[in-house]
Point group: D2
């Protein structure tokens, strides 16, 4: 059975792009399985995600064909064999519901990621992670060690060829420099339906306000806390019978679902950034 | 078949309330069909909504029995025959999707309200309303006439024995005095998932932020705009393919559903206020 | 502003289809706004829906280009200017909730259909329909007149250049011949979550079974009653407190939503049949 | 802080029941925290679930008070201290997604159950279960050993004072005798939205039929396979892009949620059987 590839192209919009891109695929006898496109009218940006099979694939030939056929535009091409999974480094503190959900879906294969390492500022989740055969690094952080530890983190990301970072209820605020270094490749789960309840203790804020739905938001990390591009969101219905503790409890289910979906979408190259907004191909 | 009644009791919590209230019902041979209670730990408030049948009902006897048995507490009792529908005055401007949904559900009987009058600052919806056999009053508002028109509105509310007011996309801001006069008995639909996008053009705000769900909120009107106690909320999933106009269009469906549910809940005495939060019995 | 077109192509899958189709569009300087594809592995069927703009459109040139470039395969091409709306004939009996929802969305423009005629076996909905400026034909049906009336219906479909028929709670069973004549272009709303409760009184069946969700199903009509290809479905949560009448009432909301979504999808050429299953492009 | 109790009363309906029951609670200075009732008109059955606090609880006094005050009716009273958790025996085969979700929620305390034992006809899940500190019994079943193993299971249920059994994707059909022995206290998760796709491979059935939503159903086990009283159901939206394997994968999420909710509801005495239907107090 021929191997499957996924290509993402982003460039300025103009007539003929799809014709050009598919021409480059034909040169390696590629046959499209799935294709999705979107043109953002505001920024005149074209984005395309294509899955195709090919029996005589040549990466450089496809990439080169796409780029040369679209010469003159600012173009971004990603091309990957689908079985060459994206590599995710997970960070966690003590709450482990998101972590466990990611690990379980990793093991069933539905996430389509490699997880070379889990890093935590606490030792609590070591046993769970190691039970899934994944190394766990306890990396405590204090105000004094923060800069050094973040530098070490970047080294680990490099060393383990990490594609993206997942903050699975990691309770440390990243420095502005680290946020910049990870721009577009670090996913956070915020335990509220942004922009509703920014900041600390969002479920307590939600309870005080008497809302009838609570939610969670997966977004890319930016220096502007809780303001990064949104990847996914979801909500669950609550009522007057639920106190703040109940909201925390119910929120866990939403958080794990939203984060896992966002990680899966990113791992499958379904998320494309256009400014502060995301395109998420279904 | 015996007639059905609905009673709502709110008082400070203490042991024996249900026993006392049901004792008062037994005095008129009442038999409970449906009963729901909630005790708010924060304020130590007890609320109870009971539907019962009785073949020899005496309103004063039940009310008196409840009050005397709970002497010494600050108690609020509402008692109504279920077929004696609450009377709602609807206010609307030009957007008619919420209005039409209310009128249709009024005609099928599922709202369980009387609608003696629809008031609007525009003439546009007259034909639709009159088609449902309901009087329509065009009451234009300018800065100069606002005070006089609001005074007239209060007269109409009195004259038509109106129980509550529904702002079905009524685009005028009510004065602080009018908000106070209608406290707890005026329902507004805000076209966003509060507290997410307060103020004007919430769908455009939502689009700019790139959210993945948009929503609507039905709440009681208070002088603090968009901050009143929430009765109901709902959301719908959106994606990068939806521009602000599409969000407006999709938002209409959520708005009409949320407002109709809130009106129905209020009309059936299912909503009880405790401070800035609501109890909504299902 | 250049005019917008929508093209749907269905053919046997093979490499190069998208390249060929986009080549034919380039010949009229077409630029793609939206593009979706699907290849069904079971039947090796390729389907593609493309929206594009063009300032010098020639219908025959695009159609011819597509067909000649894909010579040798069994190919089906639909091409339409988007502002040339599909024409829907609606049929209804007495329940008017689906009808009203369709008419309202027709008037707001979100359905993107023309409605040249509403046909009913009862006179009840005449006023509502005519209020929207649409002719209403009362066409009673008895066992004796059924064949003649169905023949007349087919004449009306021809005369009014009707693209598809919507059975908006039309309570007559169509003859096998009529079903065949309308294959793939008649949409029915079944008031249950098929295949759960086929046949009559599905809400009463659902209540007797004690289900916790009830639903509705929009599908294409086939001679095999309640078995046609499904276009859309939805559900709503119910509980022990809801008797069969309440299920009927709650079901109305689901029915109107599901049918309107299915009609909109069909009207926008988003639904493609592959055997007994549908592709519905989002 | 006073201890909390939960009482469930089921009897024929007649006036005065709530007054009687609350009278019996007053005798031990009970104060109601939460109260829900339902009267089933078809069977004239009254059911009531009450949570209350008491500082001088006497179980026999409350039970006796309730029973004597309702003398002459067929009455069923359950009374339990809330911190005296129900004891669940879980059965599983190889699919472990429901099991893991139950174990995780068990550990967080949100299920409010004790799990004295997990029994399986396969050894696969031993490590996962023992990691949560729960004994795992591998009890293989063949046609020859089935009767003996079921007898042993009943002994284990007795020995471990098990309140109810959870079939968390246990792939063996229970004998009719065992079903009878566990009537009303064995919960199964069926991996379809019953009554839609009974029997084997429901996701493959769903895919062949082209449905747009798939679901799962938690129900009490009865000798009539897949027909027991439904406790909870849920669905997830699917599309033409999902093959049968994808439905299986997406179905896992629904199954684990529905089963965990049903187990929690049962464990908290929220589920009351009336014939073949359930009352599930929210």
């Amino acid at each position: 059975m021929p191997r499957q590839y996924v290509m993402v192209v982003r460039c300025d919009d103009r007539p003929g792009i799809v014709h050009s891109v598919t021409g480059a695929m034909l040169a390696v006898a590629g046959n499209i399985i799935e294709n999705a496109q979107f043109t953002d009218p505001g920024s005149n940006t074209f984005v395309m995600r294509t899955r195709f099979v090919s029996e005589n694939m040549e990466f450089d030939r496809v990439r080169g064909g796409v780029v040369s056929s679209l010469a003159g535009t600012d173009i971004d091409v990603q091309l990957r064999a689908e079985d060459n999974f994206r590599r995710a480094l997970i960070m966690v503190s003590k709450f482990d519901h998101c972590l466990l959900d990611l690990l379980y879906r990793y093991r069933t294969g539905e996430l389509q990621v490699e997880i070379p390492l889990v890093v935590s500022n606490h030792p609590d989740c070591a046993e769970m992670v190691e039970g899934y055969g994944i190394p766990y690094l306890h990396m405590p952080i204090t105000a004094d060690t923060k800069a050094a530890q973040e530098a070490k983190l970047l080294e680990l990301i490099d060393e383990h060829r990490v594609d993206f970072v997942v903050l699975a209820r990691y309770m440390q605020v990243l420095s502005e420099d680290l946020c910049e270094a990870l721009r577009g490749r670090a996913i956070n789960i915020h335990h509220s339906f942004l922009p509703g309840f920014k900041g600390a203790k969002p479920y307590h804020q939600a309870h005080a306000r008497g809302v009838k739905l609570i939610g969670a938001t997966a977004h890319y990390v930016t220096p502007d806390l809780d303001e990064g591009p949104i990847i996914d969101q979801d909500v669950v219905r609550v009522s007057h019978t639920h106190d703040a503790d109940a909201l925390v409890r119910m929120g866990r289910d939403v958080e794990r679902n939203v984060l896992s979906r966002a990680v899966q979408a990113h791992a499958q190259d379904r998320v494309v950034l256009i400014g502060d907004r995301t395109v998420v191909f279904p």
